[in-house]
């Protein structure tokens, strides 16, 4: 029994197609920012609690930015088989019941996905420019811009991910 399960564990993932693996990797890249946003927001609220918070926040934002750029890049790469003839786009557009998933949701998802990395970059630039000075009272307004950028970026990622789940449930990329 254990042999069979081990065999399935190896043969199962090995049977996945190239696009299956890339789509899963794209999904993984979409989940990772949620953890990184959590870390960044926790560090943001710790800025005046301990001295190293700003250094850690900067590192977290570097990783978050790299993650978001990679997420968009892989998304653009797997967009080619999505819109290829006979691909998920063709399937969705073939029926009036599913056409909205492409024409409304996917269109919105592909456009909204452009913004999160830009917002994370703005947060990173502010942290880099001010360093530990960001916690000073006169920088209160600019500090709030970090929170605004991170919060909106997080909401955008959540919306894009939810739309992606709805679309791939109906028309997965194979």
């Amino acid at each position: 029994m254990m042999y069979n399960m081990l065999k399935q564990l190896i043969l199962g993932p090995a049977s996945l197609s190239y696009w299956d693996i890339l789509t899963d990797f794209h999904g993984f890249l979409a989940i990772m920012p949620l953890i990184l946003f959590g870390i960044a927001l926790a560090l943001y609220f710790s800025l005046d609690k301990f001295a190293q918070a700003v250094v850690w926040l900067k590192r977290a934002l570097y990783v978050l930015l790299a993650n978001l750029i990679l997420l968009d890049s892989v998304g653009l790469y797997i967009y080619a088989p999505y819109r290829a003839t006979g691909g998920p786009r063709t399937f969705l557009k073939s029926s009036p019941e599913t056409a909205w998933l492409h024409e409304i949701l996917f269109e919105h998802k592909e456009f909204l996905a452009y913004a999160p990395w830009l917002l994370a970059l703005v947060a990173l630039v502010i942290v880099m420019a001010f360093g530990s000075g960001i916690s000073e009272p006169e920088n209160k307004k600019i500090k709030r811009l970090i929170l605004f950028s991170l919060a909106v970026s997080l909401v955008f990622v959540l919306v894009v991910a939810s739309e992606a789940v709805l679309i791939t449930k109906v028309a997965p990329l194979k």
Binding site: H108, L112, Y114, A115, A129, L145
Partner: protein, 109 residues
Amino acid sequence: MTNKPYNIINAALFSAATSLNAFWILIVLKGAYPAISEFMNFHPPTGPLLGLYISAVLIFVLCFLAGWFVFQGRDKARVLLHRYFIGSVIFYVFITLPVFHEPLIHLLK
């Protein structure tokens, strides 16, 4: 506080907001004018989307470099730039929905 951090932050706010605005304007233009859509469609498998992303990133980089020099010693610009950035981000949420940008495309056609 020196001008240096504000000059970089102002450049980042200006370029990010302008890039977001350029992105939705290009969505409308590519929808309304086939020539623009064709120009962005230099890699047919991904369609005009890749061209749209690359154009918006280039606009971001150019605006950041320009802003870096333009905002030297102009600390007062930051209040205006904060509003421009926040306003652009909020507007972007709505304008990326087809229900809001499709009427603009039909208006230009």
